[in-house]
Point group: C2
């Protein structure tokens, strides 16, 4: 039985998919269903390849009611920059949810992952941050630092962004980009000032030592920590999880192994039982932020549900884009 399989390259995907409110809503819906318990999301398949300084992660999730499910392969080969190639690449394959047949191959080199990751940051801010925001902060100076601020501006418009990075030149370049892209004041700041002066802070680093200290917390702060996605990474002082009024996981089974919750549990400071997931906040089965003074933290490790959501969104909206291969 002849049928067409859709193939889209990174360039073709960049032409049609952008970071906007629609994609934020798509990702929000995925978290909402994820929290109902009907989603089938196996543990991430991780393959470490120390002999080539590489790793490969495979994520998937089957979301009832979606026409397809994605399987995403994310290779990270950290010697690539010396060859002039980005470290991260990979693809998403979308399968028909009723037959398992391949429907589409999105050769995105991680672009769709970047977008759905930034969208998750916006979803977290929309449901956990205070309503009125003047200053936001970002820790880290890479692609996600830029995209997280771009996504945040869509749900919590702000006037100023503070940028902290280990490398002052990269921080300056990031601040310049954010000023030009978002039309807001943007400046480099110390880690401490970035946190103290912001109503929302997003951490976007691969750090293995805490970069955000509990001493800097203040009333009304919301933190989204999206950098830690594997055992050993840790951006947030474990005392922050202890001190905050509300800690929210994208997926508890992931954050306790791969996210900030892992470090807090390992340090023995976690005494709050099973935390709520972002979907429960969205669905209002958890009451979320209690007051404008509360301090909230959202820990994002990245879920297969987001991948299935964004791949399904591309498929539904641009079914004839790219190349169709008769199979």
């Amino acid at each position: 039985m002849a049928r067409d399989i859709q193939i889209m390259t990174e360039a073709q995907l960049r032409d049609v998919v952008s970071l906007d409110l629609t994609i934020i809503d798509v990702v929000e819906k995925a978290f909402s269903i994820l929290a109902t318990g009907d989603v089938i999301m196996p543990p991430i398949l991780s393959m470490d390849l120390p002999m080539v300084n590489g790793e490969v992660d495979i994520k998937t999730a089957y979301i009832p009611g979606f026409d397809g499910f994605a399987i995403k392969v994310s290779p990270g080969f950290f010697d690539n920059p010396s060859l002039g190639i980005p470290s991260l690449n990979g693809l998403m394959t979308l399968f028909n949810a009723k037959t398992g047949l391949v429907e589409a191959l999105y050769l995105d080199n991680g672009y769709l992952t970047d977008i759905r990751t930034a969208a998750a940051g916006a979803v977290a801010a929309r449901h956990l941050a205070v309503e009125t925001v003047n200053t936001v902060g970002v820790m880290g100076t890479g692609v996600q630092a830029r995209l997280q601020m771009q996504a945040l501006a869509l749900v919590r418009p702000f006037e100023e962004v503070l940028v902290w990075g280990r490398d002052p030149d990269k921080a300056a370049a990031c601040a310049k980009d954010l000023h030009e892209t978002l039309g807001v004041r943007a400046q480099v700041a110390s880690a401490q000032d970035t946190v103290r002066q912001s109503q929302i802070v997003v951490t976007t680093t691969p750090s293995r030592e805490p970069i955000l200290k509990a001493d800097w917390l203040h009333e009304g702060l919301h933190i989204t920590a999206m950098g830690s996605d594997q055992d050993g990474k840790n951006e947030i002082d474990v005392a922050v999880l202890e001190a905050c009024d509300l800690y929210v996981a994208d997926r508890v089974s992931q954050t306790e192994n791969l996210g900030e919750l892992r470090a807090a549990k390992a340090a023995g400071v976690w005494t709050k039982g099973t935390p709520p997931e972002l979907g429960a906040i969205i669905n209002k089965t958890h009451s979320g932020r209690q007051s404008a003074k509360s301090i909230t933290v959202c820990d994002l490790t990245g879920t297969g549900a987001q991948d299935t959501a964004i791949a399904s969104y591309v498929r539904a909206n641009w079914p004839n884009a790219g190349t169709l291969i008769q199979s």
Copy 2:
């Protein structure tokens, strides 16, 4: 940096890849390296989808010295035949072993899996069966029943094949096909006669109850059991594993969870410690069959190493076949 990604459909793959001695050697090499301990092969990622009577398995293996590594997705959606679609399909993606970049997408709908699975049966027979064979038997009447006999004929030429299946009509059709394809005598037989009269028997069913009984064992018999590949399947009476002179696993960590070894361990009859793997027999680090009278069993669950081997073979030999997509 523009580069080409190779895409081949099932039809294009069938045009170039066939079940021959070359592919048997390719798969043998994969088992040989797998036994050296340098291969990185994570546990299979399995996703059960009971609401659609489906399942998805993902296998991969990184073999040092190979230019690429494959990630194979095998969906099985068992209501598909009612829609006129095969239950099994899927694809292999080949990644560059040094950079992690996607090199090729083989939309094989399981064809390459069929070939590498049959090739493994031939490797097992080549290293474990007696040299001279007149009659062989196959239990099961599907695609693998045919391919296993075709592969076997390349390494242990035989004059007669006996076919047993639950459905006599399907058994007759399989025997007819084998007669026409291989030019040997082929007839339907009882399960008992199939085993008693053959020097080699290959079991190829999805059975959950043993179909091959220990009472039927005889001197010189080699059995390859390739049907069981998940918890709950069981083709071989556990007493066979107890009674045989040598049991060999494709991968112990898989056969003890997914293969015949699982049932034998569950029944408490397994007392032989850690069995050898097929690669150890190939490499002669295990002495293998001891005499022409020995009874041997090889348990094949299917390894990611075989997938990496066959995908790499296609890539090396037909780098310009199919469609090249500039990415």
